[in-house]
Amino acid sequence: MFLCLRILAKEYPYKPRSVPTENELKFHYMVHTSLDVVDEKISAMGKALVDQRELYLGLLYPTEDYKVYGYVTNSKVKFVMVVDSSNIALFDNEIHSMFQKL
C-alpha cells in the first residue's frame, strides 16, 4: 500500500522500511524534509497535542510522484508514510485508518 514508512522516536530513529529499495535514498530525503512540516504542525498544535490521544497530521508534503503523510502518537513517536501519488483514490480517512492499524 505504502511505499515507505518511517517511525521516528526521539531516541531511536528507525530505519525506514520501504518497498522499492532503489528509491530508498530518495525516500530518506523526502521523509527527512517532511519532518519540517511535522515539526511545524506539532508546534502549531501546541498544547492541544497533550490532550489528544493521537494525532493524524494529514498530508505533509505532496510531491509530483508521492504524498507524504504524518502521524504522531502522544508519546511523540512520529510516523511518516510515503504513498504513491497515483493512488489518487486514497482519501485522508483511509490513510488515517492505515496509521491506526499500525
Binding site: 526521539k10 535514498l25 530518506h28 527527512h32 519540517d36 515539526d39 511545524e40 497515483s86 489518487i88
Partner: protein, 1255 residues
C-alpha cells in the same frame, strides 16, 4: 487590505421591462440604485441554509426573442421577471392603447409559460393636475387588476411620484422595492430549483453513452455563474469543485480500466504548455474550447483552476489558491501519466514552471508585501516546485553542462519554446512575466544560471525564514549539485557541509552517506587533501555503501599515503574513529603497576573499519609521564592495594557516525575517593571525582565538528609506545606494545596514532583513562605479631617481612637483632623463610639461619632479587616480670560481700591487661641506621588478694583472673611469707593438681594463717604459680612461674561485735511497726597488744582502756532506729571484756530482714590532733547523716558541731581547735559475728495505722 472588489465577471440576472420605455428610463437610475440596497432572506431548497442576499438586476427591454424557448438550458440570460411599466391615468387612454398592449404582452408571456411578471403603475400628481377628466386614482389600477391579475392582485403595484423627494414617494418606493425583491427572489428560487433539478438529471445520465462532460460542464458552470452573480461565491466555488471532483474521478476510473469514451478526447497529445492564465476573470478562449469539446486536459484543468482561483480571490483566500495550485500541478502531472497522454519531454516542466510563477504573481498582485511575507509557508511550495522544474529544464536543455547545450539540446529547446506559443496579450507588457522568464532562462547558459540561482536562493531564504531548515538544506543540495556540474566546487561545498551537518545531527544514515559522497568529490576537486582523506575514510567505513565503493575510497587513502612518501615532514592528521575503533586495552601485569626496570606490555584490540587489509607503517601510543607528588601512592603496597582492575579497559564504541542528538550527553561518571594516611590509615581526604568532565564540559560546537580534522592535535614529542609495520585486517586486530619501565611515576596513555606514510589516524584522547605506574621502592622491614597481641610469659610468634625494593639481598646478608634482657628470641633448629614475588606469588622457600650470642641475634637472610619479599616467623618470649606488689592489698572479712568493695578500682582493672614494651634494635644490611621495633606484650593475668577472718582465725585468699583469650593450665601454686616473722605458718587449702583456667575466668587460692605467739602486725606474701597454655601439651622450653607479691597489715582480730534483735516482751516474733530490742555486745578478744598503743589508750592503775564509738546503721532502710543509734564507750583492754548496748529498733517491713550494721570506730581524744589517719573521703563514706545526728544527741553539742564542720567546711574558725576524731578500725581487727543473720518479721495486724516516728 481587502481584495479588489469583485469584478462583474458575470452579467446580472436580467429583468425584462416592457411598456412605457420613457417612463422606465426616467425611473431606472433610482431603481437600479435602490434595488440592491436592502438584503433579502433567501430560503433555499434541499435544506440549504437561508442566506441574506442583495439583489442586483440587469434591466433589459422586452423583446419576444428574449424569452427562452423550450429546452433552453441557459440560466444566465434567463428573464427572471417581466415588468410592465405604465404611467396611464386616463381611462380612455387605458382602454385605447394600454390594455391592448398589456394583453399582447401577457399573451406572449403565457405562450412561453413565463409566470414571473409585474405591472407597475406610476402615478404622477403633476400629470394628473393637467388632466381634467380625471378618474379616481385607483380606478386604473383596479381596472388592470381586474383585467389581468385575476387572482394575483399583488402583481400590480403603484409607484407614486417616483421622482419626487417626499415621504409619500419614499413609502411608495419602499413598498414597490420590497415587492420587486420578493418577486425576483421567488423567481430565482423557482427557476434555480428547476435548473438544478435538470442539471442533476443530466448528471445522472453520465454513464449513458454519448454523455458529454463538456456539455455538463457548461450547464453546471451556468449555475456557478448565477451564484457568482448573486455574489454567492462559496456556492459558485462548490459548482467548480464538484466539476473538478467529477473529472478527477473519471480519470481515476479510467486508470482503473473503466474508461468513458468522452475522456479519450482529453488524451490527445499535449501540444501547448503555456501554463495557467489567472489574470482574466473568465478565459473565454478556453471556455469556448471546452464548449466546442476541443479542450485538452491541460486546457480544462487550466480553465477550471482559473475559475476556482477567481472565486477564491473573491472569497479572500489567496493562500488556498497557492495550496490548491500545488495540488493541481501535481495531479495534472499524474493525470497525464495515468491517461498515458503523450507529452514532449520538458513540456510539463515548462507548464508547471509557468503555472507556479503565474499563481505566485497572481497572489502577489492582490496581497501586500507583509501579507506575503507572513504566508511564506503557503507559497514556498510553489517556489520550490518552480525551482525544481527549472532545474530539470536546465539539465534537459543542456544548460547545466560544462560545455553548454549541444545541437540536440538546442533542438529540444526550440521545440519547448514553440509549445509556449506567443505570449498572451494580458502579460505582454509585464516585464517579469512567467513567459518572459522562462523564455529568457532557456535562451542561454548564463541566463539560466542567473534565473536558477535567483529562484534557488529565494526558495532557500524562504524555507529558512519559516524554519524549514531541512527543506532549505535539500534545495541547497540541489544547488550544490548544480555548482558541481558548473565546476565551482567551492560554492558547492558550503551547501553540502550544511546539509551534512543537518543529517548528522539527526542521524540520517543514507542521506549522510550520499551527501558525504558528493562532498568527497567536491573536496577532491578543491584539493582539500585532509578533508578529502577524512571523508574518504568515513566513506570507506560506511556500511551503506557497496563493497566496491568502500574499497575505492579506501584505496584513495592508500594511494595518497604511498604517493607522498617523498615529501617528509608534512603529515595529514585524520581522526581515528572512521578508520578504526579501539575496542580494548589490556595491561600485563594486570594491575598496570611495574617497578623500575620491570617489563610492561600493553595489548590493544583495534577494529579496522576498512574493507581491505591496510598496512600501517607504525602504530604508536603517546604517553604522558607525571611524577606523583604523593610518594606514598607510588609504593608497591598502595598500588597493589588500590589498583584492583583486571587490567582490561574497554572503550565504548564511539558514537561518531550518528551523534544521535546534541543533548544526549554522556551520563556523569562519579566515583568516591578516599585517601588515607600511610601511617595510621586514617582518612586524610575524601571527595567525589567526576571522571568524564572533559566529555561533559566541552563546547557544544566542537562535538559536532566531526568533519574538521583541525580539531585533532598531535601529541608531538611525547614519549611513545611503538609498533612498526602492522597490517590491520578488517575487523579486530591485536597489537602488543612492550616497554621497560624506567623512571618511577604515572604514565598516562594519551593518543593512539596509526600512520601510513604521511597519513596519521589519531585517536586524540583515550577514554576511559588508561594509566600504568612505575615505582621504585626502598627496602623495608616489617615486624608484626601473628596474633592480635603478644602475651608475656609464653612463646609468641612474630612475623618478619623484608620488602627488598630496589635492593638485592645477597647471600650472607643478615639482620642483627640486639638482645633485650627480658625478651628472648627462641632459636629453633630449623627456620623457614618464603620468598614472594612482587605480585605476592610465591617464588621459593629458603632456610633461615638464626644465631644467638649474648648481645646479638643474627638472622642470615636468603638471597632474594630486587622487588621481592622475604617472609619468616620467629618465636619470642617475654619474661613475665612481677607486677608491682599490692601493698594496699585489701583485707576482707569473711562473708563480706563484693559490693561493699570500692567499685572504681575493680572496674578499672577488669579488662585491660598490664603491658610491657620491649624495644629491639635491628641492623639491616641495606642501611647504616638501625631499625627499632617495639613489641608490646600483655600480661595475661591479674591477681588480687584478700584477708578473710573467722573469729580470730585468718585466711589469705589470692584470686588469679585470666584476661587473655587463651586457656591456661595452672600448677604448683605457692604462697610464702617473705617477712621475718618466723612463727607464721601458711597452710594451703588448695588442690595440688593442675588447674584449668579458661579465658576470662578466675581461680581462687586460699591459705590459712596460723601463728604460735603474738600475731605479727604485718605479713609480706609472695604468690607464685606455674602456667602454660592449655593447648600446648609440651613446650620446648621451661617457662618462668608467675609471681605476685603483696603485704597485709593489722589483720589480727581485736573485737567481736554481736548484734541480736529480740521480739517485744510477751511475743514470739517481731512485728512491723512494733519496737524491738537490739542488743549489741562488743567483746575484746585479747589483752593489750602493740597495735593498741595509740592515743585512745588511757592508763589508770595498770588498767588500760580505750575509747570506741559504735554506730548502728541500716542502709537498706529496713529498720528505724529509735532513740540513740550510736555512742562512745570506754573499753577495757582486757581479753573477754564485753560491753553491751541496748537499743530499740522498729522493723518497717515484714519478712526475713537482715540485721542492721553495727560499726565500730576508734574514738581519739581531742588533744591528739593533726595526726588523723582518717581521711575525709572515707569518713564521709563511712559516716551517714543519721549517724551524725545520733552522735549529736549523745555527745556534748559543741564538740560534735565542730567535728561536723571539718567535712562540711562550714567555717574555718574551728580549725586548730582540739576536737575528737574517729578512726575506722582495720577490717581485720573487728569481727562481726552476726553478719548475714536475718530475723523474721511478721506483718502487723493493723497496718493501716502504722506510724513511724523518727527523732
Amino acid at each position: 487590505t481587502p481584495l479588489t472588489p469583485p469584478l462583474p465577471s458575470v452579467e446580472r440576472a436580467p429583468v425584462v421591462g416592457a411598456g412605457d420605455q420613457n417612463l422606465f428610463t426616467s425611473i431606472y437610475p433610482t431603481l437600479s440604485q435602490q434595488l440592491p440596497r436592502e438584503p433579502m432572506e433567501w430560503r433555499r431548497s434541499y435544506g440549504r441554509a437561508p442566506k441574506m442576499i442583495h439583489l442586483e438586476s440587469n434591466f433589459v427591454q422586452f423583446k419576444e426573442e428574449l424569452l427562452p424557448k423550450e429546452g433552453n438550458k441557459a440560466l444566465l440570460t434567463f428573464p427572471f421577471l417581466h415588468i410592465y411599466w405604465t404611467e396611464c391615468c386616463d381611462t380612455e387612454v387605458y382602454k385605447a392603447t394600454v390594455k391592448d398592449d398589456l394583453t399582447k404582452w401577457q399573451n406572449v408571456l403565457k405562450a412561453h409559460s413565463s409566470v414571473d411578471w409585474l405591472i407597475v403603475v406610476v402615478e404622477n400628481d403633476a400629470k394628473k393636475k393637467n388632466k381634467t377628466n380625471i378618474l379616481p386614482r385607483t380606478s386604473i389600477v383596479d381596472k388592470i387588476r381586474n383585467d389581468f391579475c385575476n387572482k394575483q392582485s399583488d402583481r400590480c403595484v403603484v409607484l407614486n411620484d417616483p421622482l419626487k423627494d417626499s415621504s409619500r414617494t419614499q413609502e411608495s418606493w419602499n413598498a414597490f422595492l420590497t415587492k420587486l425583491r420578493t418577486l425576483l427572489l421567488m423567481s430565482f428560487t423557482k427557476n434555480l430549483g428547476k435548473f438544478e433539478d435538470d442539471m442533476r438529471t443530466l448528471r445522472e445520465k453520465r454513464t449513458e453513452p454519448g454523455w458529454s462532460f463538456c456539455e455538463y460542464f457548461m450547464v453546471q458552470e451556468e449555475l456557478a455563474f448565477v451564484f457568482e452573480m448573486l455574489q454567492q461565491f462559496e456556492d459558485a466555488l462548490v459548482q467548480y469543485d464538484e466539476l473538478d471532483a467529477l473529472f478527477s474521478q473519471y480519470v481515476v476510473n479510467f486508470g482503473a480500466g473503466d474508461g468513458a469514451n468522452w475522456l479519450t478526447f482529453f488524451c490527445q497529445p499535449v501540444k501547448s504548455w503555456n501554463g495557467l492564465t489567472l489574470r482574466k476573470p473568465i478565459d473565454m478562449e478556453k471556455r469556448e474550447l471546452i464548449q466546442r469539446q476541443e479542450a485538452t486536459l491541460l486546457d480544462l484543468r487550466s480553465y477550471l483552476f482559473a475559475r476556482q482561483c477567481t472565486l477564491l480571490l473573491f472569497l479572500q483566500r489567496p493562500w488556498e489558491v497557492a495550496q490548491r495550485a500545488l495540488e493541481l500541478l501535481h495531479s495534472c502531472v499524474q493525470e497525464l501519466k495515468l491517461l498515458e497522454v503523450s507529452v514532449p519531454p520538458g513540456a510539463l516542466d515548462c507548464w508547471v514552471f509557468l503555472s507556479c510563477l503565474e499563481v505566485l504573481q497572481r497572489i502577489e498582485g492582490c496581497c501586500d508585501r507583509a501579507q506575503i511575507d507572513s504566508n511564506i509557508a503557503h507559497t514556498v511550495g510553489l517556489w520550490s516546485y518552480a525551482t525544481e522544474k527549472l532545474k530539470s529544464l536546465g539539465y534537459l536543455c543542456g544548460l547545466v553542462s560544462e560545455k553548454g547545450p549541444n545541437s540536440e539540446d538546442l533542438n529540444r529547446t526550440v521545440d519547448l519554446l514553440a509549445g509556449l506559443g506567443a505570449e498572451r496579450p494580458e502579460t505582454a507588457n509585464t516585464a517579469q512575466s512567467p513567459y518572459k522568464k522562462l523564455k529568457e532562462a532557456l535562451s542561454s547558459v548564463e541566463a539560466f544560471e542567473k534565473h536558477y540561482l535567483d529562484l534557488s536562493h529565494a526558495t532557500i531564504e524562504m524555507y529558512t525564514s519559516i524554519g524549514r531548515i531541512r527543506s532549505a538544506k535539500f534545495v541547497g543540495k540541489d544547488l550544490a549539485e548544480f555548482y558541481m556540474k558548473k565546476k565551482s566546487p567551492q560554492k558547492a561545498e558550503t551547501y553540502l557541509q550544511g546539509a551534512l551537518k543537518n543529517y548528522l545531527a539527526e542521524g540520517w544514515a543514507l542521506p549522510i552517506t550520499h551527501t558525504r559522497k558528493q562532498l568527497a568529490e567536491c573536496q577532491k576537486h578543491l584539493g582539500q587533501i585532509e578533508n578529502y582523506l577524512q571523508t574518504s575514510s568515513l566513506l570507506a567505513s560506511d556500511h551503506h555503501l557497496t563493497e566496491e565503493e568502500r574499497k575505492y575510497f579506501c584505496q584513495e587513502i592508500l594511494n595518497f599515503a604511498s604517493e607522498q612518501t617523498d615529501s617528509p615532514g608534512h603529515k595529514v592528521v585524520l581522526p581515528m574513529h572512521s578508520f578504526a575503533h579501539l575496542r580494548d586495552l589490556r595491561f600485563t601485569p594486570s594491575n598496570a603497576v611495574v617497578h623500575v626496570g620491570g617489563v610492561l606490555s600493553v595489548e590493544i584490540t583495534v577494529c579496522s573499519q576498512m574493507p581491505v587489509p591496510v598496512h600501517m607503517d607504525q602504530i604508536a601510543i603517546s604517553v604522558h609521564f607525571s611524577i606523583e607528588k604523593n610518594s606514598y601512592r607510588k609504593t608497591a603496597e598502595w598500588l597493589t592495594k588500590h589498583k584492583t582492575s583486571n587490567g582490561i579497559i574497554n572503550f565504548p564504541m564511539e558514537t561518531s557516525p550518528f551523534p544521535a542528538s546534541q543533548n544526549s550527553l554522556p551520563a556523569l561518571e562519579l566515583y568516591e575517593m578516599f585517601e588515607r594516611s600511610p601511617s595510621d590509615n586514617s582518612l586524610n581526604t575524601t571527595g567525589i571525582i567526576c571522571k568524564n568532565v572533559h566529555m561533559l564540559l566541552r563546547r557544544q560546537e566542537s562535538s559536532t565538528a566531526l568533519d574538521t580534522p583541525s580539531g585533532v592535535a598531535l601529541d608531538d614529542g611525547a614519549p611513545v609506545l611503538k609498533c612498526c609495520g602492522v597490517t590491520l585486517e578488517p575487523g579486530a586486530n591485536t597489537i602488543t606494545f612492550r616497554t621497560q619501565a624506567k623512571e618511577p611515576g604515572t604514565y598516562t596513555l594519551r593518543q593512539l596514532c596509526a600512520s601510513a606514510g604521511p597519513v596519521c589516524f589519531v585517536l586524540p584522547h583515550l577514554y576511559p583513562l588508561a594509566q600504568y605506574d612505575v615505582y621504585s621502592q626502598e627496602p623495608q622491614l616489617h615486624v608484626e605479631p601473628l596474633a592480635d597481641s603478644l602475651l608475656a610469659g609464653i612463646p609468641q610468634k612474630v612475623k618478619f617481612t623484608v620488602t627488598t625494593g630496589h635492593y638485592t639481598v645477597k647471600n650472607g646478608d643478615s639482620l642483627q637483632l640486639s638482645n633485650v634482657e627480658a625478651m628472648l628470641i627462641l632459636c629453633h633448629a630449623e627456620n623457614k623463610a618464603v620468598i614472594y614475588s612482587n605480585t605476592r606469588e610465591k617464588a621459593s622457600d629458603a632456610s633461615l639461619r638464626v644465631q644467638s650470642s649474648d648481645k646479638v641475634t643474627s638472622i642470615s637472610l636468603p638471597a632474594a632479587p630486587a622487588y621481592h619479599m622475604i617472609e619468616f616467623e620467629l618465636e619470642v618470649l617475654s619474661l613475665p616480670s612481677a607486677p608491682a606488689a599490692g601493698g594496699e592489698g585489701e583485707s576482707t572479712m569473711l562473708g563480706m560481700t563484693e559490693a561493699q568493695r570500692k567499685p572504681k578500682d575493680t572496674q578499672k582493672a577488669d579488662h585491660c591487661m598490664a603491658t610491657t614494651d620491649h624495644k629491639v634494635s635491628i641492623e639491616c644490611p641495606w642501611s647504616i641506621y638501625s631499625t627499632v621495633i617495639a613489641l608490646t606484650f600483655s600480661v595475661p593475668f591479674r591477681t588480687t588478694h584478700a584477708v578473710l577472718s573467722a573469729g580470730t582465725r585468718k585466711y589469705i585468699q589470692v584470686c588469679v583472673q585470666n584476661l587473655s583469650e587463651l586457656d591456661f593450665r595452672l600448677s604448683d601454686s605457692d604462697l610464702v611469707d617473705t617477712g621475718d616473722s618466723t612463727d607464721l605458718q601458711l597452710l594451703p587449702l588448695n588442690t595440688k593438681s593442675q588447674q584449668h583456667i579458661c579465658s576470662r575466668q578466675s581461680v581462687f587460692f586460699v591459705w590459712e594463717l596460723t601463728w604460735t605467739r603474738e600475731p605479727p602486725p604485718s605479713l609480706r606474701g609472695r604468690f607464685s604459680m606455674e602456667f602454660r597454655p592449655a593447648s600446648e601439651e609440651r613446650l620446648s622450653i621451661s617457662l618462668k612461674p608467675y609471681t605476685y607479691e603483696f603485704q597485709v597489715e593489722n589483720f589480727f582480730t581485736l573485737y567481736t561485735v554481736k548484734a541480736e534483735i529480740l521480739p517485744p516482751a510477751g511475743t514470739e516474733l517481731c512485728r512491723t511497726g512494733s519496737l524491738c530490742a537490739l542488743e549489741v555486745s562488743i567483746t575484746r578478744l585479747s589483752d593489750l597488744l602493740e597495735v593498741d598503743r595509740d592515743e585512745a589508750l588511757t592508763e589508770s592503775d595498770e588498767y588500760f582502756s580505750t575509747k570506741l564509738m559504735y554506730e548502728v546503721v541500716d542502709n537498706s532502710s529496713n529498720w528505724a532506729v529509735c532513740g540513740k543509734s550510736s555512742g562512745v564507750i570506754s573499753m577495757p583492754v582486757v581479753a573477754q571484756a564485753t560491753h553491751r548496748v541496748h537499743m530499740e529498733v522498729m522493723p518497717l517491713f515484714a519478712g526475713y530482714l537482715p540485721l542492721p550494721d553495727v560499726r565500730l570506730f576508734k574514738y581519739l581524744p581531742h588533744h591528739s590532733a593533726h595526726s588523723s589517719q582518717l581521711d575525709a573521703d572515707s569518713w564521709i563514706e563511712n559516716d551517714s547523716l543519721s549517724v551524725d545526728k545520733h552522735v549529736d544527741d549523745q555527745l556534748d553539742s559543741s564538740s560534735i558541731k565542730s567535728r561536723g564542720s571539718v567535712h562540711s567546711a562550714a567555717s574555718s574558725e574551728h580549725k586548730g581547735l582540739p576536737m575528737p576524731r574517729l578512726q575506722a578500725l582495720p577490717p581485720g581487727q573487728v569481727f562481726n559475728s552476726s553478719t548475714g543473720m536475718q530475723i523474721l518479721v511478721i506483718p502487723s495486724k493493723d497496718d493501716h495505722v502504722l506510724e513511724v516516728s523518727v527523732t
